[in-house]
């Protein structure tokens, strides 16, 4: 298969097309604009539909409607837009509608800054009211962004649920060589539940509201079981030079990529250090941290492009205070270098002494 040199956002968009995305609605926001820009002409080319919504609120509800019709649907946004989409994502989850939501994260609450950040970690784990979860896939290269976006559509259709691809401004803007997946030609059959007119069948309803409280509670039980099943079968994690490591860096997305370089430099110097990189934020790879050889590992550094650290909550749940855990991050849209990580490791663990 041939390789192409593509920008992260465009690669995500093309991957969605190849996964069979037939409907996209979005609203401009940096740093994800290349996704709607690309799809505005590309979906036309393949017979799909692109709509620029009047807001993120409208956009997510448009994909809600198209998902009711059985289409593979996607929307993309960044932090402030994700806040507005939270309503619709909650309705998608409660109405059991598949959809893919891409968050190309930026930094800070409020308007923050358009510079890259990993500030939406807490938010994407349950992006809306009412107590639900979404599978969250977090790529650290453009190739992985392509592969995870492609996969997200299948997961959404499998569970009839929204799935989030959590990239960040670095992944979105970076250009890398990618191998694109083939065009999908078979999709799950949705004819048993979609809305397309009650012709020669009973009428149907898609709704997040019901007056039957027993039915509602059974749905809540179903959700619990679904989330537990994710933990058993959908966890994805990369262990990089970690098997004999005395020091572990925990990082996802762009910060994991930077950490890999730091680890290579330190390994050259004979320091036993490795990376544990969650690829799925939900379900979180707790076991990768629970199963660490605690007599061998002296410390963990969580590196993230945000302050305060957000992933530390999950790391602590896995580690349960058995090893010291430190955090290192940059906020304000600043990006740390591998050397910054090494300096921090030296500071907290006196590595190179």
């Amino acid at each position: 298969m041939s390789q192409l040199f593509m920008k992260g956002n465009e690669a995500i968009a093309e991957s969605a097309v190849r996964a069979g995305c037939e409907f996209f609605a979005g609203y401009p926001i940096t740093p994800q604009n290349e996704i709607p820009e690309y799809l505005s002409w590309r979906l036309d080319e393949v017979g799909g539909v692109f709509v620029q919504g009047e807001s993120e609120v409208a956009a997510v509800n448009m994909i809600y409607g198209a998902s009711c019709a059985g289409k593979r649907v996607m929307t993309s946004t960044s932090g402030p837009g994700l806040s507005l989409k939270a309503e619709g994502i909650s309705y998608l989850a409660a109405s059991r509608l598949p959809a893919v939501i891409v968050d190309v994260a930026r930094t800070g609450a409020g308007l923050g800054q358009i510079k890259p950040g990993q500030n939406d970690y807490w938010f994407v784990k349950s992006p809306g009211h009412g107590g639900f979860k979404t599978i969250v896939l977090a790529p650290h290269t453009v190739q992985e962004a392509v592969d995870l976006t492609y996969m997200a559509f299948d997961l959404a259709d499998r569970d009839l649920a929204p799935v989030i691809v959590l990239a960040d401004g670095v992944i979105g803007a970076m250009m890398e060589a990618v191998t694109l997946p083939p065009f999908k030609d078979t999709y799950p059959d949705k004819t048993s539940w979609i809305l397309n007119g009650a012709e020669n069948r009973e009428s149907r309803i898609i709704s997040s509201v019901t007056n039957d409280l027993n039915k509602l509670e059974s749905f809540h039980v179903y959700q619990k079981e679904l989330y537990e099943s994710w933990g058993r079968k959908d966890v994805m994690v990369e262990s990089f030079m970690a098997s004999d490591a005395e020091y572990i860096i925990a990082a996802y997305g762009t910060s994991a990529r930077i950490a890999k370089t730091a680890i290579r430099i330190l390994r050259e110097k004979g320091i036993k250090i490795g990376l544990i990189r969650p690829i799925t934020i939900v379900p979180f790879p707790y076991e990768a941290f629970e199963d660490l050889p605690y007599n061998n590992v002296k410390g963990i550094l969580v590196t993230e492009l945000c302050i305060p650290s957000q992933m530390i909550d999950d790391i602590q749940l896995g580690v349960l205070k058995r090893i010291p855990v430190h955090t290192f991050g940059r906020g304000g849209g600043f990006i740390f270098s591998p050397e910054d990580i090494i300096d921090e490791l030296n500071k907290v663990f006196s590595l190179e002494d």
Binding site: F23, G53, V57, I63, C68, A198, E199, S203, I205
Partner: protein
């Protein structure tokens, strides 16, 4: 015996309060869809409000949208299924307050959908709070002393606002207070669906309604109140009709 009236087969029980005209609006829609033989192609996008109660009674494919978002959901549906008949059924809080952006932009894009807007001048479902359409001086649970224009503004005339846009092809307002107006309402609802069948674009029908429960009136008195207060403010008629040259 001659059968002069037959209940529409696509509507079951009336789910609304006694004397509420939501039931009439729903019945008219059911009759029109069946008469036009499009009920098997129809998809109804329901609001959050009393209109949600149609989810139990309308025997059509239907979806309950988030509060105010029905026009966006309908956009997604219609763009995906251009050969189906997609319509929204929305109250005034839903359409003229929280969903103002969604209705204006669906109208402005000229989505080929039909919007049925049931304006009862109050938030019915939540127990009678001030709506964007509540009349001047009209009391509600959040305007105990009546709508005060200096702090609450004036009732919004949605049909007039939609008429200002280029794309919509049929905009009308009718009332459900009397047999005569109900017949006129049915006629315009029919035209709004025919418009969609003929791919003519966005149609908007505002139906003036009542809320005996939250207006705290007997149903019969609520009709009188409509005639003396609501209809004079919200003028009836066809505001825009591109087919008809208006």
């Amino acid at each position: 015996m001659k059968n002069i009236y037959k209940k529409s087969s696509i509507i079951s029980e009336n789910a609304f309060c006694p004397g509420c005209l939501h039931g009439v609006a729903s019945k008219l829609i059911a009759e029109v869809l069946e008469e036009l033989q499009i009920h098997q192609k129809a998809i109804c996008v329901l609001p959050v409000g009393c209109g949600t109660l149609n989810m139990e009674s309308l025997k059509l494919d239907r979806v309950v949208a988030a509060h105010g978002r029905a026009p966006a959901v309908a956009t997604g549906l219609k763009r995906s299924l251009p050969d189906n008949i997609v319509f929204t059924y929305q109250g005034d809080g839903d359409l003229a307050s929280i969903g103002l952006a969604e209705i204006i932009h669906a109208a402005n894009r000229g989505e080929n959908i039909t919007v049925i807007f049931v304006n009862n001048s109050i938030y019915g479902m939540t127990g009678g709070q001030l709506a964007p359409t509540t009349l001047v001086q009209q009391q509600s649970t959040t305007s105990k002393f009546g709508r005060n224009t200096s702090t609450m503004g004036y009732p919004i005339k949605m049909a007039e606002i939609i008429t200002q846009l280029e794309s919509p092809t049929l905009v009308a307002r009718q009332s459900l207070d009397s047999p005569r107006n109900i017949i006129a309402a049915k006629k315009i609802i029919r035209r709004a669906f025919e418009n969609q069948m003929n791919h003519k674009g966005f149609s908007f029908v505002e139906l003036l309604s009542n809320c005996p429960t939250n207006w705290k009136m007997k149903p019969i008195d609520s009709l009188d109140w409509m005639r003396s207060n609501v209809i004079p403010y919200f003028e009836l008629g066809i505001l825009k009709d591109v087919e008809g040259g208006k």
